[in-house]
Symmetry: C2
Amino acid sequence: MNKLSQSYGFLLGKVLQQMEGKFADTLSPFNIDARQYGVLLFVQDKPYSSQKIIADRLQIDRTTMVTHVDHLETLGFVERTKNPNDRRSYSLMITDKGNSVLDSCWEFLTDTESEVLSPLNEQEKQLLKDMLIKVWSSL
Amino acid sequence: MNKLSQSYGFLLGKVLQQMEGKFADTLSPFNIDARQYGVLLFVQDKPYSSQKIIADRLQIDRTTMVTHVDHLETLGFVERTKNPNDRRSYSLMITDKGNSVLDSCWEFLTDTESEVLSPLNEQEKQLLKDMLIKVWSSL
DNA sequence: CAAAATAATCAGTTAAACTGATTATATAAT
DNA sequence: ATTATATAATCAGTTTAACTGATTATTTTG
């Protein structure tokens, strides 16, 4: 076994590359990518969030967030309303259409994850998730 | 805990994003990125490989591989020589300079990985590596 | 009230990977 | 042996995603 295929960066990247390709199969019919799906999930979970909040939590560039939200708004998946307590920012809300897209895709996306991680048993998958959450929480 | 921060795709992506940012600090003084470092590691491990072989093994697009190798060759880190058994392909060889770049960076890169994964203990890190290798091997 | 900070946006740039076509060489089929 | 097919590498041009730096509107601080 060589250095490259022992390195975390390489391994994480290749596993992710595989997943993202398959995610795209599910999401492209809805004209969004995995990051936009993530933003939509965030807005569903934390309604009234501002773009700044989402950008910070998801570590997405502020200007990139603008284009993501523009896109989701154009598709009618989220709505921007001015936050009355701070009119510089928007309160984002997911729409019924947005909710239905999340629902339509969720099972396919988790199936994709399971498919890619199929060499692992249930216990290992849970362990992997726990470890990744532990690491992500510390960032 | 919400759906997003429970999803493997999201978690893998964010952990990787963190690592790649730090890898860049180590590698940019040498004017290469993590993928080019990976190609260089591959060539060190499997000398005489063709671009096609590397592209297949590392799942990198063939034309992207051309630019990676162009770049590494320009920097004097690899050499292209025509394979006498199949003059369509090159045999790539790492140079002394290439070896020395690999050596100079390796410790910093593995330290970066450890730093990002620092919430995990040694046993967990090994377990994570084993699981990622298991998944990657199946792809 | 004036100055500094913040949220969102915009125009323009950079960077990475991809598409499709081309050249040189090798392999397979008749 | 000759023709047709396949392969490795390359090139020009496109696409895509994210980033930089400046601007506007609004809020907070001094």
